[in-house]
Amino acid sequence: MSTTKDQTVLDQEEAELARQWTGRIRRLLVDALPPDKLLPDRQPSYLSSWIYIFGALTIGGLALVILTGTVLALEGPQWWHVSSIGLFVNSMHLWSVEFFFFFMVIHLWGKFFMAAWRGNRQLTWMTGVVTFFFSIGAGFTGYVSQTNFDSQWIATQAKDGINATGAGAFVNALNFGQMLMWHIVLLPAAVVALTGLHILMVRHKGIVTPIEVNGTEVPHQGTQSESDPS
């Protein structure tokens, strides 16, 4: 029995591997995010400001929102009205949401004033903004899922704004079951996925360099013409 394959078979396999979907995706991912880019142990020396920690603080807030939300989900939507432990977990959920937004907004201000979209980082900025919008939706659906007076009030007020856009036909703030699903499944999944994507984009491009006012020319890969007006 022969254990060595003959050369033509090996060539065929190599050609197949080059075309293979799995292999292509792996090479694409490894090229985009080699380990030292994904988890770098060094940072450029211009990273020298406390403003840089607000992204990490936002992640901390989100982690705590998810953790406390998970405990609330385990016990069900009415638990916190009747249990003092439940009320305490709800309090943690509320305050972690407040901190999540607190840090996220400071992070947004910081990145705005750093013009952090420079150097082909536009998509990083945009995923961040979209995450912010989805977080507002997640917060809103949480408020209307509280099953108390606050949720009754917010739902009956918000319905007019949602209905006016035509979206009310599909997003019914008065439908508790629907709002709870949005709040504990769809929107958290979106926020977590977008946050993950956002972080991977940051790691892919690295942190933006300081603003240079008197630069002249940059090498630019692409097909844009020299007379680019922007």
Partner: protein
């Protein structure tokens, strides 16, 4: 289950305090939150991130 030590130390559940300036009406709690955000932002920008004494 009642675990009284979990109860809030400071009761915020009483009629809210609101500030009015012309068209602006805002709860004291929201003013504090927004004010703290601005303050923390300014502190983050101005406090030196001293890497000589503070290796991270």
């Amino acid at each position: 289950m009642t675990l009284s030590f979990l109860a809030a130390l400071i009761n915020l559940d009483k009629p809210g305090v609101f500030l009015h300036w012309g068209v602006i009406q805002i709860s004291l709690a929201n003013v504090i939150v927004i004010g703290l955000m601005v303050a923390v932002f300014l502190l983050a920008i101005f406090i030196p991130f001293d890497r000589k004494s503070r290796r991270r």
